[in-house]
Symmetry: C2
Subunit: 412 residues, 2 copies
């Protein structure tokens, strides 16, 4: 029986984690939850999973949460009210909760960074779904991992695939944290990408792509922001940076392959030329479950993969001119230091501005490029946590400013 | 540095093993060779690899071999003449040679069985390329493995793929020998099959298939017999039986998938529905090297797999009516005891008779079926080695007799 904390329990990763905990009640017990504003869902989760501690991101919801839980107790729907905490310190307390064996970090964005760091400092194993932990804060997080012995278990599909394939190699132990040094013998990582909503569009057509076009993903059902990232291939660029920190390979040995069916979730190439791949249906539950059950696997009644039914798996090289975001991510990754933090923040902001219909689809990479270029002026090679949080805010502001200039040009 | 013995050094597996030893001279040292009649090649191999012992299958070649090696010594092309032995006892002595860490069993057919058993009894690790060791003699070999601690490392492409995928699972240790009991949690094996020369032929057309048609394999360059086995899918049926003994799964959990490109060499399905696959170019050197280097991997300069270049991987279910040999193999495997030995011998004989152009292509499964049916009369559930050797000879004789009756019917 593993004790699990879920950071961001009402989000996409959080709800799927709790569904898994509910499906396998003799394997997992939920001891801590943290959430934002969705009190309805949170109360329901407290009722079902009976955590020992619950943290709210904002103190404003605390009074209402207390009243609702008291109500549930009066109705005999809840026996014990969990410890209730709130704000950044509350999130950190829940993240580092002593009884937890594993912390699932489903909080999106830089907001997830501090509680994830708290869990790392407490030496917890982390099922990592918060991208910023490594992409923005890699230089800060890696030494903390080394200090505390905390292990990063990837909970997203691509890195889980690599992690699964690495299990049988002499480099399996490296998979929990980067050494920063290319691991000898483990030749390359091949990250697969669906190619997103525009994989069959010409560059000419991309100029006319609307928000509706960009948010219709062919394989995975995801939020709008991540669906746009998938259309620009920035999601894959960010995953390249994450893979670099997770598995310790340099950027020249992390490659992207377009694979529209999303059945092969990623591959590793070994020194003797053998390639290992992990496959499955495009469903986030499998990588989340693996991070939760690792190093074991749990028997599930989930639909079996059926390759004859799928019939055809196709592959092509990504077109660099069509996907400039991909190259921007490689460049920022190689630049290192605070540059990936600037890239990530600029991308979030540029996508938001696109979703507000203030810029065209092809302006997304331009804004990111301008922001990263500007960041060279206040770049830090060996940042601390404050530097990273500062760069995140700074890059968002700068990106908005560039967007204003840009849209004046575009729409005037 | 690993010391290697090569049984059947002048055959296809043997020559490739020695090429690998030559390519990686700081990893492997050859200490023993055994061969049949190809003295030219054997002398060349002795010159290059300087083994400590050499065994000839037949005593008739001994005098000539001694003279040639003396000649090489006089010409200063060879410093020390290895110990020379011959016949069944000589083969066994070379197979059990004390200095060897690993014995590559490249001798084809039942002739390879006795020296392989000698190596197993001597507690050597085996790079297994001789199919009969498990298919015919599984019931005899498994207890010997358990007794001696010898480990079977598959050297053919499909079982190596499974073995590679299993490395990262809690069942990796089972991969060296069967327990006979389905391993909980390891759900299924998916053996890939190219579909052979006739994969795009209709059953109607198969009736007219010639020897030339049947011996043109689309992906792998192999001997005639095995190319016909690939066209009937008997090769895959035999691999199913081998996988059963190697990995301990029951027959209902070993499946065949037609995959014409032969890039995915086989897959395992895990209990949580995740599938792991091993991929590479269709080249026997990679699985042989893995068996030789296991549990490590050696850096090679071999051509990297390039999925975008291949572009397309396809899969379909095998058609049971088109490939009756496949079903015959499953039935014989489930029957157990001496039945797979009878199946294997009948198949070898039926294919030989087809290659002699005495029967039609579709008569191959008929002859095997008749022989297996007849074998129920003298079947043994728990055979000893003598029983297996007897059944092998008996099934060949019976198969020839059925063929005579058949061809009288067909050609009169």
């Amino acid at each position: 029986m593993k004790a699990i904390s879920v950071l961001g329990s009402t989000g996409s990763i959080g709800t799927q984690t709790l569904e898994i905990a509910e499906e396998f009640p003799d394997q997992f017990k939920v001891v801590a939850l943290t959430a934002g504003r969705n009190l309805d869902l949170l109360c329901d989760q407290i009722k079902r999973h009976k955590p020992e501690i619950v943290a709210l991101a904002h103190s404003s919801g605390m009074q209402q949460l207390k009243e609702r839980l008291n109500g549930l107790q009066l109705e005999n729907q809840l026996i014990n009210i969990p410890k209730l905490v709130c704000g950044p310190e509350g999130l950190n307390e829940a993240a580092a909760w002593g009884k937890a064996d594993l912390v699932v970090t489903g909080i999106v964005g830089c907001a997830g960074l501090l509680p994830t760091l708290a869990a790392i400092k407490a030496g917890k194993d982390i099922a990592l779904a918060n991208k910023e932990t490594l992409i923005a804060a890699g230089p800060v997080v890696l030494p903390e991992l080394e200090k505390s012995g905390s292990r990063l278990l990837p909970a997203d599909s691509e890195h889980s695939a690599i992690f699964q394939c690495l299990q049988g190699t002499p480099w399996a132990d490296n998979a929990r944290l980067s050494t920063g040094v290319p691991t000898p013998g483990f030749k390359s990582i091949q990250l697969t990408a669906s190619g997103g909503a525009f994989r069959d569009w010409s560059i000419e057509d991309l100029k006319k792509a609307t928000v509706h076009d960009a948010t219709s993903h062919p394989n995975w059902s995801m939020g709008k922001k991540i669906t746009v990232d998938s259309a620009t291939l920035m999601n894959k660029g960010l995953e390249v940076i994450e893979a670099h920190y997770l598995f310790g390979l340099d950027y020249d040995h992390i490659e992207i392959v377009i694979h529209p069916q999303s059945i092969i979730h990623s591959m590793i190439e070994l020194s003797d030329s053998s390639v290992l791949a992990q496959m499955g249906w495009p469903d986030m539950k499998l990588p989340i479950l693996y991070a939760m059950s690792w190093p074991n696997r749990i028997e599930t009644p989930w639909k079996r993969l059926n390759l004859p039914e799928i019939n055809n798996l196709t592959f092509k090289k990504p077109d660099k001119t069509k996907y400039p975001c991909m190259q921007l991510a490689y460049s920022a990754g190689k630049y290192g230091g605070t540059m990936p933090a600037a890239l990530n923040a600029a991308n979030e902001e540029a996508v938001a501005i696109f979703l507000e219909e203030q810029i065209h689809f092809l302006e997304i990479p331009s804004l990111i490029e301008l922001t990263c270029e500007k960041h060279k002026e206040n770049f830090k090679q060996e940042p601390n946590l404050e530097d990273i949080i500062y760069v995140d805010l700074w890059a968002r502001k700068i990106c908005r400013e560039f967007a204003k200039k840009q849209s004046r040009k575009l729409f005037s």
